[in-house]
């Protein structure tokens, strides 16, 4: 069934009796050509692009609980491609271009809204860094614009630009960036993949790999053994746990990142805005809630909930930036588990086991990367060669010294 305005009107007039489930609920078959582990945004996108772009059939996505219940349903919905390094920027720009056509491609309303992102700058050094970053973005085909204080105030007149410690001197604007409805992205990919014959198998936890002679044969799951020619792990947050079944230790620590939403307010924030003197990012949802977040808590965690010191820290940053929010009440907070890699950059690569592939290490950056991550992972699975935008995301880069350290923090995952 195609979704359209006509369809909505027709269903409204006929009592909404024509809507069916958006995807099937199949039982696992004994074997597949491709098994994707993880029914989050990246796993579902991988299955979709495998079926669509690489014309592969017999694909299954295995999800331990329900699809979209992990980080794709827990992020702050920001979509952007304002990176500096050559290893990163072409990939994220590819992703943003896919976002721009995503809803038509999937026939699903992902509420993609290119409302722009502004990274505020608070010092001369930061202005230099943003000019450099903006130029790197433009060189890679993205858009970037340097704003002075007056231009920032036109969009955000209530900003505390005269803060004595962190005055706002301007900002780096990427106008094509924005937000997308995170759950709808998972559902849209699931529905579109399902329509192309992908089996989405929920409540099916992978409990081990069957490997013989250095080659993958299939996966052991809570719903029995499933054979596969190729297996792609796509389980950021639990990567170390799943890859340990194949005897691998990863350059990854799992950390908890909290996110927050305020009570619904009248429209105040026209776009996404980030605080340059700390780590704070904020946008306003279409329902009116301010959606925001800050740093990870900073210690290894699989708990999917954080602690109060980071809550306090994030609120302090919010108030430093927007003193007018002092009376807004916090509605909810939650946590998700990040794969924090040793250089802050993801890994999309083959493993030393024939037919076993790995996609993870997304740190904070997973949601915006969803379409491109799926696309390039599908490319890798189908062709055994990396996509040209993702050649830097190798698993062995820590051995060869080709780290992609966007933030320049070294091998300290809780600082990326």
């Amino acid at each position: 069934m195609r979704y359209s305005g006509f369809r909505v009107i027709k269903e409204a007039l006929t009592g909404h009796r024509g809507w069916g489930p958006a995807w099937r609920d199949p039982d696992p078959k004994p074997d597949y050509d491709y098994v994707i582990i993880g029914g989050g945004g990246h796993g579902l996108a991988t299955a979709y692009y495998l079926a669509k772009e690489y014309k592969q059939a017999r694909i299954a996505v295995l999800e331990k609980s329900w699809i979209g219940g992990g980080n794709v349903g827990r992020n702050t919905t920001i979509v952007r491609s304002n990176y500096l390094l050559d290893g990163n920027e072409p990939f994220y720009e590819f992703s943003l271009k896919l976002w721009e056509g995503l809803e038509q491609d999937l026939n699903y309303n992902a509420m993609m809204s290119q409302r722009g992102i502004i990274n505020l700058m608070h010092s001369d050094a930061q202005r230099d860094a943003y000019i450099r970053r903006g130029n790197a973005m433009i060189l890679n085909g993205a858009d970037a614009q340097l704003l002075d204080q007056k231009q920032v105030l036109e969009k955000y007149p209530f900003l505390n630009v005269k803060n004595a410690r962190f005055p706002v001197m301007g900002g780096l604007l990427q106008a094509r960036a924005g937000t997308a409805r995170h759950d709808a992205v998972a559902w849209g990919y699931a529905r579109a993949a399902d329509q192309r014959g992908v089996d989405i198998i929920q409540n099916c936890e992978v409990t081990g790999f069957r490997i013989e002679g250095g080659k993958i044969l299939g996966v052991e799951t809570s719903r029995g053994y499933i054979g596969a020619k190729k297996v792609g792990a796509c389980v950021a947050g639990s990567s170390s746990k799943v890859m340990a079944y194949a005897g691998m230790r990863l350059p990854i620590e799992s950390h908890v990142l909290q996110a927050f939403v305020s009570e619904g307010l009248k429209p105040v924030l026209p776009g996404v805005i980030t605080f340059g003197a700390g780590h704070f990012y904020c946008s306003q949802s279409d329902k009116g809630g301010l959606v925001f977040g800050g740093n990870i808590d900073g210690y290894n965690s699989y708990a999917q909930r954080g602690n109060l010191p980071m809550v306090e820290d994030v609120m302090e940053e919010a108030i430093a930036m927007f003193p007018m929010l002092g009376r807004a009440r916090l509605l909810r907070s939650w946590g998700g588990i990040m794969d924090m890699s040793m250089d802050g950059t993801p890994i999309i690569d083959k493993t030393h086991i024939d037919g076993l592939y790995f996609n993870g290490g997304w740190c904070y950056g997973g949601f915006k990367a969803t379409p491109a991550s799926g696309f390039v992972y599908a490319h890798l699975l189908a062709t055994d060669t990396p996509h040209h935008t993702a050649t830097a995301f190798r698993l062995d880069r820590f051995h060869t010294g080709h780290m992609v350290d966007e933030k320049g923090m070294g091998n300290q995952p809780n600082l990326h």
Binding site: S238, L250, P251, I252, S254, Y302, A303
Partner: protein, 95 residues
Amino acid sequence: MIINHPLLGPRDSSEFVYLGDACLINRPDWQADDALDQFIEYGHTRDNPAGLHRELWYHEQGDRSWLVVTRNTVTHEITQVELARDVARAEGRSK
């Protein structure tokens, strides 16, 4: 989280800085034949367990001691706190 410091008693975790897995105490021998591989492993790969995790915390806002904290990464429950110095010496290190 409250870390029960062996010398100072219970202290809030926000007084501490987190480094990572306590395996970082065991710095490889730089003269070993495979020192390069050992240092790559030491610097970059981690067990990253879901469950009990021995990890290094530094009491920066306190007595500046390094601690080895045994904590459950699923529940955040802390079950053991030792001075990193004692742990290192028990493993044969001079300091």
